[in-house]
């Protein structure tokens, strides 16, 4: 057996990121419970039971859902977990995001960070997984990402509710002088049935919270759930249909000034000359300050309103140094192609691939090159943050996916202690991985330093946002297969080259840490798929391009879903097997996978013939612990290809809110289709060429297909939800276009080869 220690030290890069956090936080925290961050900030009459529950004497029940709400519905589902065990209705509770605190670390975000496929439950894999969970606590990353929030919260949040309920019952038993076992709870009250006496939670909250937490916390059986497992009304819906000021961009504070940024159009480049005199004299301009952060260089413009700041930013005349990376898309493609020729690190290597290809007859070999472009996140809400630095204390308001990192990096950039920073996390107008980055917060913090104690709301233009992202990296792949006489693949060799997301993220968030080891995200979605092929190799190569790249909804799986499933479709065609039947054969060892493929095929009536001018394509992807099959139907119309319908079957293990899960599956599929159809970020002279939605658009309502979704719960472990619909979307569409037109498109976006209606 391979030594666990050795594998852990091989440190696939997510491990390196985790260790980086470990250095910052300290080994000391391991296994030591974090203090309850709510303790110091309670309202009069309010008591707190743990970092997730507060109850006031007036029976106001507050649940802290410490994950970022960017549309995925997490604030609702986390609150439901607590409410379920606390025996209160969702309409009886207030839900808050809560403060930045290490108490809210997300262990699950890293648990799938090791070099093991999700379905690998060998002892080594399980040991490394729990080891990474521990590192997650070292890192104390209060992060939202990796589709990990429900998996991380599922036990913690339910236990928080159950423990509070048990303490409330114990306090009520004392007060009423009855046995705890004779008390029942419902809707925030405790009832003694025999006497008819009842108390509200609020009436005993203070006494209950002073008790020791129960040694043993009893959780409800799934069969007894009232709220979990059923669609709930989202807690944020009313605010969102009435235009309530809930986003970072809506923050309004007394005495507030406004601002924007103008960052170097070439990443990392310094200004070689800059004339701000004209801009400084423009109406409403208060101050222009140079900015320097881990994200590069630029200027911050402070003005009396946002519009005046925008105009002044345009008037700054600056020249910037040349790019440190290949300056245009052609040169970048050259570097990627060259990288593909190097020897990769094999993350999967079954059988003997070299031997299997040796001496194969040429007609049994298929070879293909695939490529995908850089992509922007393009959240609807452009980047922004509001900051106030007064008397050495920083308050910062922003949507963000990692409040403890906001605190740490803002403290560093200002040279103050972390306990002088308060992070107010707002709702986000989309995240998709963009709000893992910290540039918007760092710029606002530096600008606050120049604002003489006044709060400054810093809003980026769409153009700045589009041109200063941490992009989904471009990637290229070389794919070879040898077919057997039965048409099934005997050997598959996949090599994928891409700039490293983890190395890029470390440079910005933990610049003192050097990346070590290969980056697993380069092959996520290709090396870890539940197919059995006797000789099966998947290798990763990090390409040396330092344009900032980061986490984009489903990360590596957004690339490799397209590569792997497009190539599998080619294997099916070359081997004259049906794409659905081929997958079922290859994934026979994984019943959960077979079940979703069978389900989606049945929903789409895959076996029935379509009229001329229509066709279907399918794809499957296992990502973030969930198994997803998608089928797309396209039609040839005079205006171009129309995406008519999409069927999705997903096994998420345990479905906590089917309504939100369905919405997320459709959302992620549309996100993937949008990119596949038309999106790309290209470069010229070291600068991003796209700037706004006219040249980086997304699917519109008139292009949107009808959806049919099935949620399965066959697998014994819970999977993620927010990203899993994206990886199969592009290949299902490309495979449908092949079935319709005979055109095999191996490079995204598809709009370079076909027109869409």
């Amino acid at each position: 057996m391979a030594s666990v220690g050795k594998i852990a030290r091989r440190s696939f890069l997510i491990g390196a990121a985790a260790i980086a956090g470990g250095v910052a936080v300290g080994y000391y925290y391991y296994r030591k419970p974090y203090p309850n961050p709510l303790q110091g900030d309670l309202a009069a009459g309010e008591a707190t039971f743990n970092p997730y529950v507060k109850i006031g004497a007036d029976n106001t029940i507050t649940i802290v859902a410490p994950r970022a709400e960017m549309g995925q519905g997490i604030s609702t589902t986390l609150a439901v977990m607590v409410a379920e065990e606390l025996d209160v209705g969702l309409d009886q509770v207030k839900v808050e995001h809560g403060p930045a605190s290490y108490a809210y670390y997300n262990a699950a975000i890293l648990e799938e960070g090791g070099p093991f496929a999700f379905f690998d439950e060998s002892m080594t894999a399980e040991a490394v997984r729990s080891g990474l969970g521990v590192v997650g606590k070292f890192l104390a990353l209060q992060g939202t990402g990796g589709s990990a929030s429900t998996r991380d919260g599922f036990n913690k949040m339910r236990q928080a509710g159950a423990a509070a309920r048990q303490m409330l019952i114990a306090a009520a038993a004392q007060k009423l002088g009855v046995a705890a076992a004779d008390l029942e709870t419902a809707n925030g009250s405790i009832l003694h049935k025999a006497s008819g006496k009842s108390l509200t939670y609020g009436e005993v909250a203070a006494n209950a919270a002073a008790m020791a937490p129960p040694a043993e916390v009893r959780l409800k059986d799934k069969a007894d759930w009232n709220l979990l497992g059923k669609p709930q009304k989202r807690i944020d819906m009313l605010a969102k249909v009435t235009g309530a000021p809930i986003f970072g961009i809506d923050v309004s504070l007394p005495d507030m000034v406004y601002g924007t940024v103008k960052m170097s159009p070439r990443f990392w480049s310094k200004p070689v000359s800059a004339d701000v005199a004209k801009a400084e004299k423009m109406p409403g301009v208060i101050k222009i300050v140079p900015l320097e952060t881990n994200y590069g260089h630029g200027f911050g413009i402070i003005a009396e309103n946002t519009w005046e700041a925008f105009k002044a930013a345009e008037a700054i005349d600056a020249q910037w140094a040349d790019a440190e990376y290949p300056p245009d898309s052609e040169a970048i493609a050259g570097v990627l192609k060259q990288a593909l020729g190097a020897e990769g690190s094999a993350m999967r290597d079954n059988g003997d691939v070299a031997k299997a290809f040796a001496g194969a007859p040429p007609e049994k070999i298929i070879e293909s090159d695939y490529a995908v472009p850089y992509l922007a996140h393009a959240t609807m809400e452009p980047m922004n943050a509001t900051a106030r630095l007064k008397d050495g204390v920083l308050d910062i308001w922003c949507g963000n996916q990692a409040p403890t990192l906001v605190r740490q990096l803002c403290a560093n950039v200002l040279g103050i202690e972390q306990d002088k920073v308060t992070v107010h996390t707002t709702f986000m107008g989309g995240g998709f991985g963009r709000r893992v980055e910290m540039d918007y917060a760092l710029c606002a913090a530096l600008m606050a330093k120049a604002a003489e104690g006044r709060p400054v709301k810093v809003t980026w233009t769409r153009e700045e946002d589009m041109r200063h992202d941490a992009y989904r990296p471009a990637a290229v792949g070389k794919f070879r297969a040898r077919l057997g006489d039965d048409g099934l693949p005997v050997a598959v060799d996949m090599t994928i080259a891409s700039p490293s997301v983890i190395a890029g993220t470390l440079r910005r968030l933990f610049p003192s840490i050097s990346p070590i080891g290969p980056d697993k995200t380069i092959v996520d979605g290709a090396y870890d798929q539940p197919y059995t092929i006797p000789n099966y190799r998947v290798s990763a190569i990090a390409a040396p391009v330092t344009i900032p790249v980061g986490s984009w909804r489903s990360v590596g799986s957004s690339i490799n879903g397209f590569f792997h499933e497009g190539f599998l479709d080619e294997i099916a065609v070359a081997g004259k097997t049906d794409p659905v039947a081929l997958r079922k054969t290859l994934m026979a060892a994984y019943p959960a996978a077979v079940a979703v493929v069978e389900k989606v095929a049945a929903m789409a009536k895959w076996d029935e013939a379509l009229p001329p001018g229509k066709a279907k394509g399918m794809a499957f992807s296992l990502s973030f612990g969930s198994w997803v099959g998608e089928i797309v139907q396209v039609a040839d119309t005079p205006a171009g290809i129309r995406i008519e319908k999409m069927w999705i079957a997903a096994d998420v293990g345990t479905a906590l809110d089917p309504g939100i899960i369905e919405a997320q599956l459709i959302s992620a599929a549309i996100y993937g289709l949008s990119a596949a159809m038309g999106q790309e970020i290209t470069f010229a002279d070291g600068m991003v060429e796209q700037s706004n939605f006219h040249d980086f658009d997304a699917m519109r309502i008139f292009q949107c297909p009808a959806f049919e979704v099935a949620i399965l719960e066959n697998f014994h472990k819970m999977g993620g939800v927010g990203e899993i619909g994206t990886p199969p979307a592009a290949p299902a569409l490309a495979n449908a276009i092949f079935a319709l037109t005979g055109k095999r498109i191996r490079t995204l976006p598809l709009s370079k080869a076909v027109a869409f209606a």
């Binding site: 519009w307 959240t379 939605f693 309502i701």
Partner: protein, 170 residues
Amino acid sequence: MAVDHFARAMDDNEGYPMRLTVDGQSFDIDADPEMPLLWALRDLIGKTGPKFGCGIAACGACTVHVDGQPVRSCSLPVGHATGAITTIEGIGTPGKLHPVQQAWLEEQVAQCGYCQAGQIMSAVALLDEVADPTDADIDNAMGGNLCRCGTYPKIRAAIKKAAVLKTARL
């Protein structure tokens, strides 16, 4: 009486006093008439319901009504905004929702929610024009409103539901 502030202050790049009628209230502001209506609403008047998304009328997040017509407030100079302006905050309140808001709530449309004020304002204008819109009507009226969360299927369902709710209220 409509006054074209823009024409009167064309050569004047400085602030210019003007009066806006927003959600039934009058506001006196001092602004460069070239300032987009969106920023006058958000920064000068404090109406943050309309959202900034693109600044070039490409995403619809800033949609408001001027005299009942849907306009992209990010691209309309405030000096030209001479009619009665209605924002998401003027069509209904949490206690008294507009039928379109009610339908949005019942269909659980929003995810991140950022584009939804604009979506709702476009939908309200559509239903004022066409009581019982077809899919093609919806495509035409809503094509300028981008949603990155992909709530389109629910937007379509909510518009159809709102048509029913609105008729029932008449």
